[in-house]
Subunit: 470 residues, 2 copies
């Protein structure tokens, strides 16, 4: 609990109406989209501008109060779960698009703006912000930046990191710094812009961001390739890239995922095949046309049993929507859904999918796999029940083996979901003790009192998801 003086200081900064410490009010922010993590904050504070953020941070730094910055809490790594108590810093008021600069192709936003709201505003001007996390209808740009969100278009267009040009950040000592600019080139000092992107709120609080936009592609086409063999699908992915085509989207869904998605979406997806690839290309019409033909040829040569281009925009949109609904469809199966995002080099996808299936069999689990095949970013997903402690133990062991397998294949434990609390115990697999020590040194340098989202990224202990935080 906050002491009365501290509470009074917060209220002096943001006003009574933006300070909340009732039990009901705190309960709402005691969890995020991550299953099985819950922990109460001491208060929820909603600043209205960067000056207020700086004042709040100073109070927290002087009193060693943890700060958990939060947009919509859609992350899947318990990154916004207040595991150490302290305050949730809620960006509900700082949710404006500040400027769309059509000459420099940038958009400047406050962190609390909803991703899709921003996208709609820039698209109205013929501009394109490529990162498209599946949660974009409710996620915020601040959250996307803190997690370095990916999405379906990562293969061709990259991830959030590749579109952040400048940041305004409040540091743990209350200093407000600006990084980068509307500049295609800037080497004045270290690349702090990208150090903060994906730092999960552990290094500072982002209060403003300038994002890069690109011209809107002229057209887009969508196709679905069906396979009776997972390896054939994976090989098609590699062959497409080796043929020097970089499609916008190259999504993979295995049969168990397909069955569930079709039951949910009911758009006529085939459920009697072992795997499908959802392939999209965008760009000038001539190029899209040519690439689609070439990819169709490649998929057929690699044993696709059917390749079909969506006949209309509506059909294409239905396919995309179905793919985006994979997680929510899977979440309907069982009370608890454990979704991971182990990622491997593109060339290793078949090995990884086979590896996941073997591990699932070994631990007697139902693991469905879908994901961004083009960038090797897979989402093995296990519908389970947190109350079934025996199964949860097996889930835990299975996912640990999945992480180890990904690392063995040159991959990583998380492609786009972040480390948070959930994957902190596994971080050493990827970085080694030395790598973690170096990152911790940077964390300590910028946040010596460990007030910035403590308990995230770096494991305090080896607690895994089996134990539920009270």
């Amino acid at each position: 609990m906050l002491n009365a003086n501290v509470k009074h200081s917060f209220i002096k900064v943001v006003g009574e109406e933006n300070f909340e410490d009732s039990k009901a009010g705190r309960l709402v922010y005691s969890y995020d989209a991550t299953p099985n993590f819950q922990s109460m904050p001491d208060a929820v504070v909603s600043p209205r501008n960067k000056q207020e953020v700086a004042k709040i941070v100073k109070i927290c730094n002087e009193n060693s109060i943890p700060i958990v910055p939060r947009g919509s809490g859609t992350n899947l790594c318990a990154g916004t779960c207040p595991t150490e108590g302290g305050i949730v810093l809620l960006f509900k008021h700082m949710n404006k698009v500040i400027e769309i600069d059509e000459e420099n192709l940038t958009v400047t936003v406050q962190p609390g703006v909803i991703t899709l709201d921003m996208i709609n505003q820039v698209e109205a001007k013929g501009l394109f912000y490529p990162p498209d996390p599946s949660s974009m209808k409710i996620s915020t740009i601040g959250g996307n930046i803190n997690e370095n969100s990916g999405g379906l278009r990562g293969l061709k267009y990259g991830v959030t990191r590749d579109y952040v040009m400048a940041l305004e950040v409040v540091l743990a000592n209350g200093d407000i710094i600006r990084t980068g600019g509307k500049l295609a080139k800037d080497v004045a000092g270290y690349d702090f812009t990208r150090l903060f992107v994906g730092s999960e709120g552990t290094l500072g609080i982002i209060t403003e961001a300038t994002l890069k936009l690109i011209p809107m592609p002229e057209t887009k086409k969508t196709m679905l390739a069906l396979y009776q063999d997972i390896e054939a699908a994976a090989k098609s992915v590699s062959k497409i890239i080796a043929n020097k085509i970089i499609p916008t989207t190259l999504e993979f869904l295995d049969q168990p995922t397909l069955v569930v998605v079709e039951a949910h979406a009911q758009i006529g997806l085939p459920t009697d095949v072992k795997a499908v690839l959802l392939i999209e290309q965008d760009g000038p019409p001539e190029v899209v046309e040519r690439d689609m033909l070439k990819m169709e040829e490649i998929c057929k040569k690699e044993q696709a049993i059917s390749v079909k281009v969506a006949a209309s925009d509506e059909e294409a949109e239905a396919l995309r929507t179905a793919r985006r609904s994979a997680l929510s469809a899977l979440a309907r199966l069982k009370p608890t859904t454990i979704l991971e995002d182990a990622t491997v080099p593109r060339s290793e996808i078949a090995k990884m999918v086979n590896g996941i299936n073997e591990i699932a069999k070994k631990y007697d689990l139902n693991i469905c796999t879908f994901g961004h095949a083009g960038d090797g970013n897979l989402h093995p997903t296990c519908p389970t029940d947190a109350r079934d402690h025996d199964e949860m133990e097996r889930v835990e062991k299975a996912f640990e083996e999945i992480f180890v397998k990904a690392i063995e294949l040159g991959g990583t434990i998380t492609g786009e979901h972040g480390v948070g609390v959930m994957k902190a115990p596994y971080l050493e697999l990827k970085l080694g003790k030395e790598g973690i020590a170096a990152m911790q040194a940077v964390k300590n340098a910028l946040d010596p009192n460990n007030i910035m989202n403590p308990g995230k990224v770096f494991a305090k202990d080896s607690r895994k998801r089996v134990v539920i935080t009270k």
Copy 2:
């Protein structure tokens, strides 16, 4: 001078043949491409592998000996000038292309490989590494990474940072860490890959890098637009982008630069116009054709007095070569050439060029300006004479005003050359005291004994280029 024990330790690691401390041997590495900076190292040590690098670093860390990593020393910020003595760590042996991975579109290299050698090898496989610093014939990839080198294709394709996927780095404590991977998506911990890119050797020693490649564009076209008015040229640049065309290259040369380049290259460049734009587009033939026509139209509408597409590859190559030779052509004019790279948002180019010209007039200097107009990265260049102390004082003041002007316009003090020693006194203009303090905290955390290229990035004092280091 190194003491005998330390010298013996280095020789034990690399062998007599890779240790050099004769006066002549040290003299060669007492300067780089930066005018007016010279300082003797105590020795030159050439490791053959990462284990040797780690051993050398440990010796240096225990004995507080500065390490200056060096490829070809083509940087323009005195980034490889051993201003604090210590050893030059020369990467002449670690110069191999380790692997070209055609399935994952990556190339893995040692830091000492010559940029163009690597480019030739990947192009032989139909793959493309876009960053093209003007020094690429002799620069090394290690140097490019440490400086985050840019080049002529930055507008469309980005800079070195955008192509580094993974690094192997020896830290100051001798730990060897690996960052990233052959992974389009990876959010396991902080983005150390990009923290090291552009850190100018001040955070660690890069011993291996995996770079992203893309498919080779099918075709390329080049054109030259002539203007009697600098603002018309600048406006054409903005209009091209606002029309949603992102050309590969959008280079600007003012009249004084043109005159010098033509005298040097003799390829029939017009010298009676106020400015030219060298514009290139690459990609599928249909798209290149269409974009070139549209850009021709835009330039004419914006008062270009002539727009001419290069008739042949040879003519295009001659134009590119002429542009690339701008610095060497200007360097022939006077004993000393001061070249800067103040950078502004694209929309501010006309204001910046006019500002430079006013400042040149005020200080009675001849400043020629050329550069990458598409990304706002200008190279105001002053042919002068370091022995003329009066003129050098004026040069110093003029460039300080140029930096201030760039910052005023939302720009930066260096777009692609780096801070090094040269621009360290001006870094505060861009970052503020708070920003520098935060970066220094990170530096101290990773290199507490300050052995990693000390004296670079952060100013020890306000010494500027007027005073020559002995």
